[in-house]
């Protein structure tokens, strides 16, 4: 077992060559939670690509992103409508007796700002929910995942369970088991 020294955050993990063995390892860890004294939120999964066909790719799957984007669109649209109405009234042009607030043409700007609101909200929601940017380098990571390996492990495992966790990760098909600490 390879180890990386440090003292703030630690983890033990296996690197798996294929999604089937990674799924096996996850199943092993989920079954061993109570026995080895860690919780579901301590299980870490990292991969170089999404695996939609496998259970480990579906962790933390629930999201309200589409609704948040729609809300962003509504806010953008209302802001746009307010913006054009407010400025047309505040800085009135001589319009020869025609309507000062022009609904048809204001609709275009309202529409564009609706879409801009949805786009920007999607971007910021992604950044917040995916917790990026994060350049601290303190989170569990292994560059091997860029070469197709899948990382399955446990963060901050109980000291007495480390040996057993290493054995079980290896038995599930890990190419290598490592300890990580920062």
């Amino acid at each position: 077992m390879e180890s990386i020294k440090g003292n703030e955050m630690n983890a033990i993990y296996g690197l798996y060559p294929d999604p089937d063995s990674a799924q096996r390892a996850l199943n092993v860890l989920e079954r061993a939670q109570g026995e080895l004294g860690f919780q579901d939120r301590d299980i870490a999964v990292l991969s170089g690509e999404p695996y939609e066909e496998y259970g480990f790719g579906h962790r933390d799957h629930k999201t309200r992103m589409p609704w948040i984007a729609a809300l962003g669109g509504v806010v953008g649209g209302l802001s746009g409508w307010w913006f054009v109405s407010f400025t047309q009234k505040s800085y009135p042009l001589i319009s020869g007796g025609m309507h000062l607030v022009t609904k048809w043409s204001d609709g275009i700007i309202t529409y564009e700002l609706t879409m801009l609101g949805a786009i920007l909200t999607t971007l910021f929601t992604l950044l917040i929910l995916a917790r990026i940017p994060d350049w601290s380098g303190r989170k569990l990571y292994d560059p091997a995942i860029s070469n197709g390996k899948i990382l399955i492990g446990v963060t901050n495992p109980p000291e007495k369970a480390r040996g057993e966790l290493g054995k079980r990760l290896l038995a599930a098909g890990a190419e290598t088991v490592k300890e990580y600490a920062r």
Partner: protein, 450 residues
């Protein structure tokens, strides 16, 4: 092709590390042309807009032609990529980033033309809707102001659409690089790790963006068409200008994408990733758009001819058989007569060289189309005493050539910084085994073979 993830990484990251002498030669040539364009623009700024060929009654010509043309080319990317994503077309994977990059660069180039056309670019802020004591702005009734909002929304959306799926690829480069590259790509990747939550949120964001960006792309070129259609100028005041412009934009955009992909395939040795089948599919789209474009041109001209308004007919005849007829028939030849037979014959369409042969005239033809919408109408507006002519000066020609060189230069530099094919999406395609039709099996993108 049964490539391992490591081999895919090596193939697609190779252009970031190694450049042949051809790259540097292209860099010098394209850079010189861009420098010449900037010199011409500087000359115009110093001496005034009078050094261009613009004169009464033709005050919109090459610059606005280029503006509309490049907006159209920008539809190559984000719109096509978004449509392919929404329709879950599996063959899109090697194509999307090539396409999205075209949008960002073409849109940036097009956005320069209102500034160039201003003559006094230091007053560009007059385009922006800010409160003014002059009583001129904000003029929300003006299509030119609609342009400001539409183009900026599309540019922000397109840049976001290009960057979001790039984070995982930047992380990949970060993991393999050393020295300054590791630092730069480490920052650019935003600390991407690849947790299931990150992957899921990224894919969800891409889906939302794809849905949002399609109506924005349509609105941009519709609004550009309204720059013309809202004016009671013969040949412009038409209700079909919106869809006509959008169709033309997608048409020229696909042609640009085919040419760009063929060049990248050759220069970056991406033969195993950009397959004949990708060109075949894009060729089919180009064929459909060519037919649709011709339908719009026919409908537009037929109703003009049938209506027989003198002011409209003056523009009609000057393009049909008058001074601009050579350009008009060249446009028909380039946009319809050359590409349709080539793309309709399967044996030709499935060969990359022939799809490129069909695409190059489309670029020429669509530029001519934009020119023919603008100049004949302005030079034959209502009363004959007001008729005029237009001849571009060396300044306008140099700037126009420079923008084509600028587009190629930006693309060249982009391919040295970004993986031109989205690596993680390509690998995702390896997972998703698709059933290929037996007839196409031999050409199916290798990464998506069952």
């Amino acid at each position: 092709m049964d490539k391992t993830p490591e081999q895919i990484n090596q193939d697609l990251l190779r252009p970031l590390y190694h450049a042949s002498w051809r790259f540097y030669v292209a860099l010098v040539i394209l850079g010189s042309l861009v420098a010449a364009a900037f010199f011409a623009w500087g000359y115009q700024i110093y001496n005034g807009i009078g050094v261009s060929g613009l004169d009464r009654p033709v005050f919109w010509a090459f610059y606005i032609t280029n503006f509309v043309f490049w907006i159209g080319i920008s539809h190559a990317g984000t719109l096509i990529s978004a449509i392919l994503r929404v329709s879950n077309a599996t063959w899109r994977r090697p194509v999307t980033r090539c396409a999205e990059a075209i949008t960002v660069f073409a849109l940036s180039i097009s956005a320069m033309f209102p500034l160039i056309h201003l003559g006094r670019p230091w007053l560009f802020f007059w385009l922006i809707p800010y409160p003014s004591e002059r009583g001129i702005w904000p003029q929300f009734r003006s299509p030119l102001l609609w342009d400001f909002f539409a183009i900026n929304t599309y540019l922000i959306g397109s840049v976001t659409f290009l960057l979001l799926p790039s984070f995982p690829d930047f992380a990949l480069i970060r993991d393999r690089a050393s020295g300054w590259r590791k630092k730069v790509y480490g920052i650019a990747s935003l600390g991407w790790r690849g947790t299931p939550k990150q992957w899921h949120r990224l894919e969800m964001a891409m889906r939302i963006m794809a849905v949002a960006i399609i109506p924005v792309a349509v609105s941009v070129h519709t609004i550009v068409s309204w720059d013309f259609a809202m004016a009671p100028v013969p040949g412009w005041h038409s209700t079909i200008f919106g869809p006509y412009f959008v169709a033309g934009a997608i048409f020229s955009g696909i042609a640009a994408l085919i040419i760009a992909m063929a060049m990248l395939r050759k220069l970056l040795h991406l033969e195993e990733y950009l397959k004949p089948i990708h060109f075949d599919y894009l060729g089919k789209l180009l064929l459909v758009m060519s037919l649709l474009w011709f339908y719009f041109v026919f409908a537009e001209r037929l109703t003009t001819w049938y209506g027989n308004f003198p002011s409209e007919m003056a523009v009609f005849w000057v393009t049909q058989s008058g001074r601009f007829s050579k350009l008009f028939w060249t446009m028909i030849f380039c946009n319809f007569i050359i590409p349709v037979p080539i793309l309709a014959i399967k044996n030709l369409r499935t060969k990359i060289g022939w799809t490129v042969v069909a695409s190059i005239p489309v670029i020429v033809g669509m530029w001519l189309e934009r020119f023919l919408i603008i100049v004949p109408s302005l030079s034959h507006k209502y009363l004959p005493y007001n008729f005029g002519t237009y001849r571009p000066s060396w300044v306008e020609i140099t700037i126009t050539i420079g923008t084509f060189a600028g587009m190629a230069l930006l693309y060249l530099l982009f391919s040295r910084v970004f993986p031109i094919i989205s690596i993680w999406e390509l690998k995702l395609g390896l997972q998703k085994k698709v059933e290929a039709a037996p007839a196409l099996a031999s050409q199916e993108p290798a990464t998506e073979q069952p």
